[in-house]
């Protein structure tokens, strides 16, 4: 048995630089110049899950990404980690897609690329943090889905899946094909290898543009059901009373203050 496996990867701004993001006072939009991009951290976990599944049960892994041309870097990481193929969905018309439209475009891109038994995503991307795309992608593919996945194995042709809950965990059984979204407990992502890197930089990327996925709206901004109305910078609004005395004295004053405001 050979499995056709897809991994969705996203090229995202580095979260360590989020505090340097500023608003353009004139347009109210984000200025993100000078912020480096990386592979979304959980997507490296998704790659690990997909690659170890392939290594154990056989098959091929295709990494797919939607983004502008520099998103090639994310696919190069996927190839250097061991992905067999890479596909980039890229078109100016895709810019500004919300989670629903992103899921629709990814689903169409996957259908254009092949017939997949297993689609692995990261649970959420650090930039949007919605975590909505995997389940929505599954709906557009007509596959079942499971999110918050921490462990998978194949038992009698069915996928056994352990998912993380706030209160513990839940075990599921899923028929293939299926979409799963993995979290950070799913295993340590492998490193890139030197032959992998050499192959990645020379790899001729397959690209898919808007005309091939039949985007119904003139562009993604108009085709997305949600709109960003505006953004404001977050600033605190409390009046702090700060004690700098020696611990015994500072603690005494702080407790008195907390009693006065009814917090103790």
């Amino acid at each position: 048995m050979s499995y056709n496996i897809a991994v969705c990867v996203k090229h995202v701004p580095h979260p360590d630089y989020f505090s340097k993001v500023k608003l353009d006072p004139k347009t109210g939009t984000i200025i993100r110049t000078g912020i480096p991009s990386i592979v979304n951290p959980l997507d490296r976990h998704a790659l690990e899950v997909a690659l170890s599944f392939r290594d154990k049960y056989g098959g091929r892994v295709t990494a797919i990404s939607m983004g502008p041309l520099p998103a090639r870097e994310a696919l190069e990481v996927a190839l250097a980690m061991g992905a067999d193929e890479a596909v980039l969905l890229t078109d100016r018309k895709f810019a500004g897609a919300d989670s629903l439209l992103t899921a629709e475009i990814l689903a169409k891109g996957l259908k254009e690329t092949g017939r997949f038994d297993l689609v692995v995503c990261g649970d959420f991307a650090v930039d949007g943090s919605t975590g909505q795309v995997p389940a929505q992608l599954a709906e557009y593919l007509g596959y079942p889905h499971l999110t918050h996945v921490q462990e998978i194995s194949l038992v009698n042709g069915k996928l056994k899946v352990k998912t993380t809950r706030e209160t513990g965990y839940a075990l599921y059984e899923a028929q293939l094909p299926v979409v799963i979204a993995v979290n950070k407990y799913s295993g340590v992502p492998r490193n890139m290898t030197v032959p992998g890197i050499m192959r990645a930089v020379k790899y001729e990327l397959k690209t898919i543009t808007a005309d091939r996925v039949h985007l119904s709206a003139p562009n993604a901004l108009e085709g997305s059901p949600t709109r960003v109305l505006g953004m404001t910078e977050v600033k605190g609004g409390r009046k702090a009373v700060v004690f700098t005395d020696e611990p015994a004295e500072a603690v005494k004053k702080a407790i008195e203050h907390l009693k006065k405001v009814g917090a103790l």
């Binding site: 975590g131 389940a135 599921y172 700060v242 407790i255 917090a263």
Partner: protein, 332 residues
């Protein structure tokens, strides 16, 4: 023309409605009043008698109950099919879910089935008139909590959202259930069990009741350099508090991921929040900025959290915490 209903998907555990679902019901009633609409609750599970009775006493207009042995555990496709089917029939104006592992999973699939907009992890919801229509303005922290982003879904209906806990007071459950209860017959296609829950395991160590706690003590990088979390645990014991923390404490294995506070973790709104050894980056402070009183303990007087707390103590946690524990034990 009367508006479609404001609908909340309620979560429950062992016969008790989740506090975060009661909060959303309260908020839904406010929004419904602004629209002149009904407030409706949907609930799925098995042996729901008490849950339904409680929900019917929260001041909502209707409770739709899907009570079936096959719904005892969360079944992603089946739940999504039932809820999307209900929405196609009843055409609600608004549909809210919790930002919980189940709520977020379910809301995503339902929104895709209905091909409508879904806004994730909202911390506030308001009605605003835009182009002559009253629409929901969803507020959520973006870019690691450095920005508050406002999102609308102007055309498609229902306007859907997952909503964080702690957005407002929970709805009271009155002894007299006044809502109309509709027990919906559950028939489903076996195809929907292509993915099937086998077992749910509750792990007390991983959970705690962080999100509903009255008092929370949380540690940051500074506690890690202090070499141990024992002092923080002792403080939590003294105050009968739940423990939370920042990413570095999760990374070194001192607290479970489920206890991480902030953008990628939990949002809490306890009466008293004590933060020790965390400087106060926005991606962390977003997780508790609705707490009643915020106390900050840090050895760096320039830590940003001192600007946004109510009470601050500048000092080394290793010296301040023993003093705080001793004085609290004497005082309480």
């Amino acid at each position: 023309m009367s508006s479609g209903a404001v609908c909340v998907f309620a979560e429950h555990f062992q016969g008790t409605v989740k506090k975060y679902s009661l909060e959303k019901i309260n908020k839904a009633r406010q929004i419904a009043a602004g629209l002149g609409a009904q407030t409706v609750v949907l609930v799925c599970g098995h042996r729901l008698d008490k849950v339904v009775r409680d929900l019917a006493g929260t001041g909502v207009t209707k409770v739709y109950a899907y009570d079936h042995p096959g719904l005892e555990m969360y079944q992603p496709l089946l739940y999504a099919d039932l809820l999307a089917g209900w929405a196609r029939e009843e055409k609600p104006e608004i549909m809210w879910f919790s930002s919980s592992s189940i709520g977020a999973d379910l809301a995503s699939r339902v929104a895709a089935k209905l091909e409508t907009g879904l806004t994730a992890h909202c911390v506030d919801l308001d009605l605003e008139e835009i182009d002559g229509k009253k629409v929901v303005v969803h507020s959520l922290p973006g870019w690691g909590g450095n920005f508050m982003v406002k999102i609308v879904c102007p055309e498609k209906r229902p306007q859907m959202a997952t909503v964080r806990s702690g957005i407002c007071e929970p709805a009271n459950i009155s002894g007299k259930p006044s809502a109309e209860v509709i027990n919906v017959p559950v028939n489903f296609n076996k195809e929907l069990l292509k993915v099937r829950a086998l077992e749910e395991v509750r792990d007390e160590a991983a959970s705690g009741e962080l999100e509903t706690a009255e008092v929370v003590v949380a540690g940051g990088w500074g506690m890690r350099s202090a070499g141990s979390l024992d002092l923080l645990r002792q403080l939590a014991k003294t105050l009968k508090a739940e423990i939370g923390g920042t990413r570095p404490l999760v990374d070194c294995g001192w607290i479970e991921e489920s206890r991480m506070i902030g953008v990628s973790g939990k949002t809490v709104s306890p009466r008293l929040f004590i933060s020790v050894g965390a400087s106060g980056q926005p991606h962390y402070t977003t997780g508790f900025d609705k707490a009643g009183v915020i106390v900050c303990i840090n050895n760096d007087p320039a830590a940003p959290l001192f600007e946004m707390c109510d009470v601050g103590i500048v000092g080394d946690a290793r010296r301040v915490l023993p003093e705080l524990i001793a004085q609290l034990e004497a005082a309480l």
